[in-house]
């Protein structure tokens, strides 16, 4: 008989020193699963036999066991474990992590153990130690079950130890290999008619064979019942028969609800108060024979409290399941699955106040549950309650998985008066007291952010430190930080003699990545700005979690690092007001069916934000350069009149002076006076998000078209982003776009941004760069220095690698989208904050800032 060991368990080997535990462990478990007290005694003290190190070794062992159990990994403790005090600590640790404690006892003759120890140089303790341990062990044998071990295997004698085989048993709830598809059905409560109608709606054909139901699901699909099949409603017995027949035929899966649990107690003859609708079920079952009632008892008894399905992507439980309990086994897990978490209080209707676990849910798996009737099924942090109160006159609802479509049929009547009016139940839980505060544990100390794009993006601890300081000291309220703009890579370096960047390389890159059409957008030389604006203060306050009084401007303008763009609140208010009007008159609110919007834009002039850079760097460098070079020119001219050998220096100094003049003209173009809002211009180019939607599924044609209409509504403030569409395989089209760039940059424009026409384009597992900047020759003087165009300088500047920058741009782009999606999905602030934080942390990676 093999020894049954659950896959997720804490296994204690129990046996005297020398009983062969380590050999046993090595034979049946992987080395990483085994935590040996001897080994860790050695690790903490350099001496495996140093008994004074036992307490420290135990602490180390316990620490590691915690880490493993937290991750849901089977862990074996190889220590004598003959002392009940130590076993007690392990059992409580197993319970804390909701894994099953297992004891495997190696009960060998003390003489054999003593002999073994004698043959080992490092075990010089006397036989009395082994004899004492054996005595302790024998005395313990009878108590192991009561100590809390769920499986106890005693191997008596050396032969039994040698012959033992272990059979690892998957946990009952682990159905990850079952990928569905499923039609998950919420609380039925005896509403047989509605159930049949819903199954019909879902495409299930219900037939009969005598008393038996024979249900044919649509090809490949199965129903999945979330429990609470019975009580309150008109035909619980018929619902039971249908569900049991479907499960038996493999047409359905079922998990239990609290009402089944109570029914089972009644069926087992326990003294149960027939309240909460149980009486109706009892009455309906009285018409059935004993065999049917036995069948129900066996069926309910065999149900597993919750299931983890579809590769771990889906968890179903009647009352939901916290992340740390998913796939685990303990009384607590079962209780949570059936009843959820209650605070111990009751509300004004006498109903238990439930702890809103879904509001804090931060797991990866989708949790589908029922139990608490809600007016409509709504997603909250990847969880959804689909009990829409059919028995109370609501609807019976199914969720199709993996499609995530909701299918409902209305109740024929109110079968049972609810204690609390159905429409009174909030679907989206009220914000909790600690909402609105991000969590350090989500972002510090080497965390990763998992994105929905199949990429896990690590945050290096040192970068996290920099981001924390930046956010804590300078950023706006984290409730506003639902996105930050990602960095953008330039094109690869041009090999043309007088240029560093040229559109050719952008087009070549996109073609090489299988992109057929691109858009070239004018790059406005200003400062990046994110604008959040609501149709009115109340709308944006409600969506972003503020009190209206907290946000008098009804929105915000952010810099690319998440700071407030305008020091002067009046200017922000004025800009948002004008934008709000433009969104109104262009019909954009209706068009997007929203009352708030997040725009990605460039705000001009550059001098509005960059004044201190201009004062300390750009302007004085030009002044100093002109001053010293023009004085040098005068002197060189005078000297040339009387000295030989200066012509080369004279010519070069002339070139340098010209370059310096050009540099000054370059930055002066991006400066003009503003007075309040007068002179400020905003050029939006992405409609990032609005209510219920991240617009990353829309191509740039859509974004620009929406924004053109907005811009045209207020041409004084708003600027259209000019663009050219390029067919990358049409030479004429490419040449036209290139000509446009030349014209723009010769006029002194910064350049253009080349993007695939789709918002996101994948090539296999890699993201195609969503945007490449192609900057003009004159503009680049601001980046590479006034004299960069001198041939000897340009030649050296060509050696620049864009690889790191592109990898960074990819990661930041995905993080930016991830945070937006999380926000739109109404996930809690901490979940939205983590990708934003990671994005900012990436900004402190060492990448050439001139790229």
């Amino acid at each position: 008989m093999p020894l049954i060991v659950p896959e997720l368990s804490l296994v204690l080997l129990v046996g005297a020193s020398g009983s062969g535990k380590s050999t046993f462990a090595a034979r049946h478990f992987r080395p990483t699963q085994v935590l040996s007290s001897d080994h860790y005694r050695g690790v903490v003290s350099d001496d495996e036999t140093d008994q004074s190190a036992s307490a420290d070794a135990f602490e180390a062992l316990e620490f590691l066991a915690r880490k493993r159990l937290e991750r849901g990994l089977c862990t074996v403790v190889d220590a004598t474990n003959t002392d009940p005090q130590y076993r007690k600590r392990w059992v409580s640790l197993a319970k804390a992590f909701h894994v099953l404690p297992v004891a495997i006892v190696l009960d060998v003759e003390p003489s054999i153990a003593i002999e073994r120890n004698a043959s080992r140089a490092d075990r010089d303790f006397g036989g009395h130690v082994v004899r004492r341990q054996s005595r302790d062990l024998r005395r313990s044998l009878g108590h192991l079950r009561t100590e809390g071990f769920r499986y106890v295997h005693v191997l008596r004698g050396e032969d039994a130890v040698q012959d033992a085989e272990i059979s690892f048993q998957r946990s009952w709830s682990d159905r990850r290999d079952d990928t569905g598809p499923f039609d998950i059905i919420g609380d039925i409560h005896g509403c047989f008619l509605e159930l049949c109608e819903l199954l019909d709606e879902l495409g299930y054909a219900i037939g009969h064979e005598g008393e038996r139901f024979v249900v044919t699901p649509p090809a490949g699909r199965r129903a999945l019942f979330l429990g609470d099949l019975v009580d309150r409603g008109p035909a619980s017995h018929r619902v039971l028969r249908l569900v049991m027949d479907m499960v038996e035929d493999g047409a359905a899966l079922c998990i239990p609800g609290n009402h089944e649990a109570k029914l089972l107690r009644w069926l087992n003859g326990k003294n149960v108060k027939p309240s909460h609708g149980l009486q109706e079920t009892i009455d309906q079952l009285s018409g059935e024979d004993q065999a049917f009632r036995d069948r129900v008892a066996t069926f309910v008894d065999g149900l597993v409290s919750h299931l983890v399905l579809d590769g771990g992507r889906l968890v179903v439980a009647h009352a939901g399941m916290r992340r740390d309990l998913q796939g685990r086994a303990s009384g607590r897990v079962r209780e949570f699955a059936l009843y959820g978490e209650t605070t111990g209080e009751t509300d004004e209707f006498g109903l238990p106040v439930r702890y809103p676990w879904a509001r804090d849910y931060d797991g990866q798996a989708v949790v589908v549950y029922g139990h608490t009737p809600v007016p409509t099924a709504e997603w909250v942090n990847r969880t959804i309650c689909i009990d829409t109160g059919c028995v109370f006159g609501g609807e019976l609802t199914a969720l199709r998985w993996p499609e995530r479509d909701l299918v409902s049929v209305p109740a024929h009547q109110v079968w049972c008066e609810p204690k609390r009016p159905l429409h009174d139940t909030p679907t989206v839980p009220e914000p909790g007291p600690l909402d609105g505060v991000p969590h350090a544990g989500d972002v510090l100390g080497g965390r990763s952010v998992e994105t929905r794009f199949g990429k896990v993006i690590p945050i290096r601890p040192e970068n996290a430190g920099a981001a924390l300081e930046a956010l804590a000291r300078f950023a706006v309220d984290p409730r506003w930080l639902v996105h930050l703009p990602p960095t953008m890579s330039p094109v690869e370096t041009s090999q043309r003699p007088d240029l560093l960047e040229h559109p050719d390389e952008a087009f070549a890159y996109l073609r090489a990545n299988g992109v057929r059409t691109a858009v070239c957008q004018e790059k406005h030389m200003g400062s990046r700005a994110l604008v959040i604006v609501g149709r009115d203060e109340a709308a944006v306050a409600a969506r972003f979690g503020f009190e209206p009084a907290e946000i008098p401007t009804g929105g915000i303008v952010l810099t690319r690092r998440g700071r407030r763009f305008f020091a002067d609140e009046a200017v922000e208010a004025a800009l948002l007001g004008r934008l709000r009007t433009a969104l109104e008159s262009s019909g954009t609110w209706e068009r997007l069916a929203t009352d708030w919007v997040l725009l990605d834009a460039e705000l001009m002039p550059w001098s509005a934000k960059a004044r201190s850079l201009l004062e300390t760097q750009y302007a004085p460098v030009g002044t100093a350069a002109r001053g010293s070079l023009s004085a040098a020119m005068d002197a060189l001219r005078a000297a040339s009149a009387r000295q030989e050998g200066l012509s080369e220096l004279l010519a070069r100094t002339g070139e340098r002076l010209d370059a310096v003049q050009a540099y000054t003209s370059a930055w002066r173009r991006y400066c003009w006076e503003v007075d309040g809002l007068a002179g400020v211009r905003l050029a939006p180019f992405h409609v990032l998000a609005s209510e219920g939607a991240v617009h990353d599924g829309q191509g740039h044609a859509w974004h620009l078209e929406v924004l053109d209409r907005v811009a045209d509504a207020d041409p004084e403030l708003l600027v259209r982003t000019e663009r050219r569409w390029v067919d990358l395989h049409d030479e004429t089209s490419v040449a036209a776009a290139t000509g446009w760039w030349t014209e723009l940059t010769e006029r002194g424009g910064e350049g253009m941004v080349v993007k695939p026409t789709d918002f996101t384009t994948w090539r296999g597992r890699r993201l195609v760069q969503p945007a490449l900047k192609v900057r003009g020759r004159e503009y680049l003087r601001i980046i590479y220095g006034p004299e960069y165009t001198l041939p000897e300088n340009l030649e050296r500047l060509r050696s620049r690698g864009v690889g790191r920058k592109r990898s960074l741009a990819e990661r930041e782009f995905l993080l930016g989208l991830e945070s937006l999606h999380r926000f739109v999905e109404r996930r809690p602030l901490r979940a939205v904050h983590a990708p934003v934080f990671a994005l900012l942390a990436l900004e402190s990676e060492p990448v050439d800032p001139r790229l």
Partner: protein, 461 residues
């Protein structure tokens, strides 16, 4: 960068002898950072001008430097190739090495004071026009400095750039030595690492004039790139035996902030710390967390308390934590102290369950939303049994003679509260999160405006 040197002593072409540069020839010299060119725009009997143009390689300046280095050399757009700086000083020293040393094939010219005029095209003077005068006038120069605007077209105000003409009757060798020392001092951004031999160089070039220069201290400090130990050594040698006083360790580490300077007469910080420590030292308090510990002033006091078994300091600034780490090195009780990177505006379960916490002069550095987050994260999340919060009393600011009306005590303060404002916040926070709160004055109480610091003690109900 560019300068000219003119003399009107006849025959003026004798300048070529002193400089070892023939007035009819152009000379070019390679330097590690570029090239220097010497030429003569005029070389007549009555008047001769020698010019030096230094071409600094702008790409070479940036390439190969560490990315984290954000000094003036890190950017391609920088003034180094154009303003008089240590680059020019190095070039002068190399190109006119013999002239500086005072070698000449016609030794009779050497000791002779000549009328000389130096034109420095674009000097960046950290310290302004006044400093140019204070540096050169005591040496007998007539100084003419014209300040340049930041830009001639865009209205951006005045720059720190000057066109400077220095005139004096002096020897060429001495004038060169003055420039070698004082040009980098004006600019105050030396481009190279400064070590012990720089002290020797300074004393050598300063021989005969620096010891009596009224700005000797500033010259020494800037020339030695503010390395205090070097500057002290140099000043000692200049003073020839008079002992410079040892400065306290702490003062040497950090330049005092305006806040500290303001409050110094009161020694307010010490009073505040002492009171906070006293409040934290209550029976049953064994584990304490210092929220926003900064450079660890409170931590050092707490580490020594035997009743404490664990002291945690948390701060968002990794630089501050590094300093704290260093300062704690020799503190008794160091092993009890843990430093954590974190922010008081983030919910942080590492800070849960402490007996006591302190936030000394922290909240005024937070934006209003940060104060809200602090309240939630600390009183709502970490929930220490005891919390001590201190913050400036804004009403008291009128008692600081040097503080302009309406200004804050520190540049990073986002607000300073009156007693009523502080009480309103604390009472509301305590009510919301189940604490009792009481208030105290810290520092001498002024009958009209109260004490300089206000303090609240929160006790978990």
């Amino acid at each position: 960068m560019f300068l000219t040197l003119t003399t009107t002593r006849a025959p003026a072409t004798d300048l070529g002898w002193l400089l070892h540069k023939h007035p009819d020839h152009v000379r070019s010299v390679s330097l590690t950072f570029g090239r220097a060119h010497v030429f003569w725009p005029e070389a007549g009997e009555d008047r001769a001008t020698v010019a030096m143009l230094v071409e600094v390689d702008p790409i070479g300046l940036v390439r190969g430097r560490h990315a984290a280095d954000d000094g003036p050399l890190a950017a391609y757009v920088n003034d180094r190739p154009y303003v008089t700086s240590s680059f020019l000083s190095v070039a002068l020293g190399q190109v006119f090495r013999s002239a500086v040393k005072g070698d000449c094939q016609r030794p009779e010219l050497l000791g002779e004071p000549w009328p000389l005029r130096v034109e420095l095209h674009v000097v960046r003077a950290k310290g302004g026009e006044g400093l140019i005068g204070r540096l050169f006038e005591p040496l007998g120069y007539e100084v003419d400095a014209v300040r340049l605007p930041r830009d001639e077209v865009v209205e951006l105000g005045e720059s720190a750039l000057y066109r400077v003409t220095l005139s004096a009757t002096t020897t060429v060798s001495l004038l060169l030595r003055h420039l070698l020392v004082l040009l980098p001092v004006l600019d105050d951004e030396k481009h190279y690492w400064v070590g012990q031999d720089e002290v020797d160089k300074l004393l050598d070039r300063g021989e005969g004039w620096l010891a009596s220069h009224p700005e000797q201290q500033l010259v020494t400090e800037r020339y030695l790139k503010h390395r205090r130990s070097l500057a002290r050594a140099a000043l000692e040698r200049l003073a020839e035996g008079t002992e410079a006083e040892e400065e306290a360790d702490e003062a040497a580490d950090a330049p005092s902030t305006p806040e500290r300077a303001l409050e110094k007469p009161l020694k307010l910080n010490d009073v505040r710390m002492a009171r906070v420590v006293e409040l934290l030292r209550q029976p049953g308090v064994a584990r304490v967390v210092d929220l926003g510990c900064g450079e660890g002033k409170l931590l050092r006091r707490l580490a020594g308390l035997s009743q404490l078994t664990e002291v945690v300091g948390v701060d968002a600034s990794s630089r501050a934590l590094e300093v704290a780490e260093r300062r704690l090195e020799r503190t008794p009780g160091r092993e009890k102290v843990r430093l954590l990177t974190g922010s008081v505006t983030y919910r942080d379960d590492r800070l849960d369950g402490f007996d006591a916490a302190a936030a000394v002069e922290v909240i005024e550095h937070l934006e209003p939303h940060g104060v809200r987050a602090f309240t939630q994260a600390v009183l709502g999340g970490a929930r220490p049994r005891l919390l001590v919060v201190t913050t400036p009393n804004a009403e008291y600011n009128v008692r600081f003679p040097d503080l302009p009306a309406g200004a804050f005590r520190h540049a990073d303060h986002r607000f300073e509260w009156t007693r009523a404002q502080f009480a309103a916040w604390a009472t509301d926070a305590a009510e919301r999160w189940g604490y009792d709160v009481s208030f105290e004055d810290v520092g001498e109480v002024d009958p009209e405006v109260g004490a300089p610091t206000q303090l609240a003690v929160f006790r978990c109900r």
